[in-house]
Subunit: 367 residues, 2 copies
């Protein structure tokens, strides 16, 4: 274990002081900010998400704001998914690709107004990308990073908590839809979304000076439901088959390789970046695909950095892109990004640590 | 202090195993990789750099490779500095700006061949930026991240160490110039460069599988000179006035604000990105400038994340963008990014921690 050295290059979240007060002890960095990753008891944090309700500082999900008369046009140029019927108040999960069809991020797009979009991004610099495209194409749109920081409330009891704060209208929100609201004078956007499959909401704080206040409002409202601090949960997201851009992808990964093909619309306009390459890949078929792998043995492995080679019959067929102990399956599980010839049921060898480990490929999600 | 949670989203360096063997205990993340920041004794690591020789894993200084017939043209489009007389084997420090003249990185450009350039980058995603510009302008150039990882050897005794490995020709290398070489069959590029003012070299490892081997060769060669592990040294770089992109800059910083005006050539071709904005800023003068600040008190402060407000006569005039204890000055010092009306000698108040601290502005560098 290494401590993370303070630096002004890495920013803190508006919820930083609140998470320190909660006892955060481990962090990662994401979009050049600190994100809490543990409060000291990973298993308890996991079961709280599965059975109750958990609150997460996910301010690192920054917004790339597109504002101006060409905002919608730029959004469609950036995203190979049909946005023509997207309504104000609606969000959509959109893979972003470069001109070669390589995935460069997978944000939630929020259409806040006809001339105002947010891309709530994963961990890569889409401000530079969007600015380059907008300026090179002469579009009338400003790119910026607004003062907006999501706080996630996730788990089966999340709806009860969020409804108790904002009202029963949140129960009617459809998945990825959102609405502006306020609590104690704090301006927010409430969306039904979040990086888990346990259900819940993301409350987009729109005033960074009110982070502790919002945290405490959610904490207090959640007391009756046993709320506690957590984080985008590595175990749950692997069990649920959620892809981590940058973790499960590399510099050559296209959406079809990582089960995102259903979010690509091949009939978007021809000036959409990467659509030519994506049409070709869709027609020829991708060279790799993403499966699960269940590793042999019933003791948790330590989590590591970087990928591990996956071999079959003595030859490398791909990579293990993550690995975690599943509290529900009582096995070490992970994602395999492997040649399309590899199939569920195949037995493989994972080159992980000093002694290679046997495993079996399977469909995703695990649960 | 927080521990950093392992994740496949954060890659390790080819020197990772070697640095673990040396006892690395603190890290930062940079270009989505881990970089060692301490081996447990910061003051000893500092004096080793000032008086002897230190070796640093700076693999995080990744290369954005531009390759193809239009590589030179793209380099000049990206960099508002005249590259027309740059020779093969020569490096240049180049600010990169967006279309508004805002600094987006400050790499060393290495001209490896007429059709091959490396941008050895600071901590922001220039692959996406360069790819967007190249594709939108229809240039014949491929953008990639080659298997290249710098190892820095810095300090007054660095030349003796590097010459003992590669030969006396390294003594003739001019600042930022470089040459291809090999040691024990390991392909490298040796450059006279490095993020300190104590002199030294960066050895660009061109085979990631040989990281430990190269580390040990340098370590052995340095034994006679008391070499030891270190890292881009926060204290020395602040004393020396070296700017950290992303640490000392924000989303509106232009090169003139942070003492990089001498690296901007206003007569570069009109299709250079941002040159119109930079000519206007040069003519009107920037609104902020970068000075030093010496804080009152003779006890080290803890280093923090994020910036601190700087006030004068009760009004905010700018930000403290870094702060460190200077072992040579025996004072807490930092950089001030402040309104141009603020001048050296001005007394200011820094809003840092619970009790504001007084300080005095000064010219940079400190030493």
């Amino acid at each position: 274990m290494f401590s993370i050295t303070p630096s002004s290059r890495l920013r803190t979240s508006p919820f930083f002081e609140a998470t320190v007060a909660e006892g955060v002890c481990a962090m990662t960095t994401y979009n050049l900010m600190l994100m809490p990753t543990s409060y000291g008891n990973p298993e308890e944090e996991y079961w709280r998400l599965i059975n109750g309700v958990s609150m997460w500082d996910v301010a690192v999900e920054r917004q790339v704001q597109l504002k101006g008369p060409d905002a919608g046009r730029l959004a469609q140029i950036l995203a190979p998914r049909d946005l023509s019927r997207c309504k104000v108040g609606q969000g959509k999960y959109v893979p972003l690709c470069n001109h070669r069809g390589v995935l460069i991020n997978d944000p939630i797009l929020l259409k806040r107004a006809d001339d105002l979009y947010w891309l709530s991004i994963a961990d890569s610099n889409i401000w530079f990308w969007a600015e380059a495209i907008a300026r090179e194409r002469g579009l009338r749109v400003e790119i910026s990073e607004p003062d907006v920081s999501p706080l996630a409330v996730q788990g089966p009891k999340a709806e009860a908590v969020v409804a108790s704060i904002f009202g029963d209208w949140v129960r009617e929100l459809k998945y990825f839809w959102f609405r502006e609201a306020a609590v104690s004078g704090i301006p927010v956007v409430v969306a039904r979304s979040g990086w888990s499959k346990q259900g819940g909401f993301e409350i987009y704080l729109m005033d960074g000076s009110r982070g502790t206040a919002l945290w405490n409002i959610v904490k207090e409202a959640g007391q009756a439901h046993g709320i506690g601090p957590g984080n985008p949960n590595w175990c749950e997201r692997v069990e649920s088959g959620l892809v981590a851009y940058g973790g499960d992808t590399d510099g050559e990964t296209n959406p079809f390789e990582v089960r995102m093909g259903r979010y690509v619309d091949l009939d978007v306009p021809d000036d959409t970046i990467g659509i030519g390459a994506l049409r070709r890949i869709a027609s020829e078929g991708p060279r790799r695909h993403q499966l699960g792998v269940v590793l042999d043995g019933a003791e948790p492995f330590a989590t590591g950095f970087s990928w591990s080679d996956i071999e079959k019959d003595g030859r490398k067929i791909g990579d293990l892109t993550n690995c975690t102990w599943s509290y529900r399956m009582r096995r070490n599980i992970g994602f395999a990004l492997v040649a399309t010839a590899a199939r569920p049921g195949d037995e493989v060898l994972v080159r992980r640590g000093a002694v290679p480990v046997k495993g079996t490929l399977c469909e995703l999600p695990f649960l």
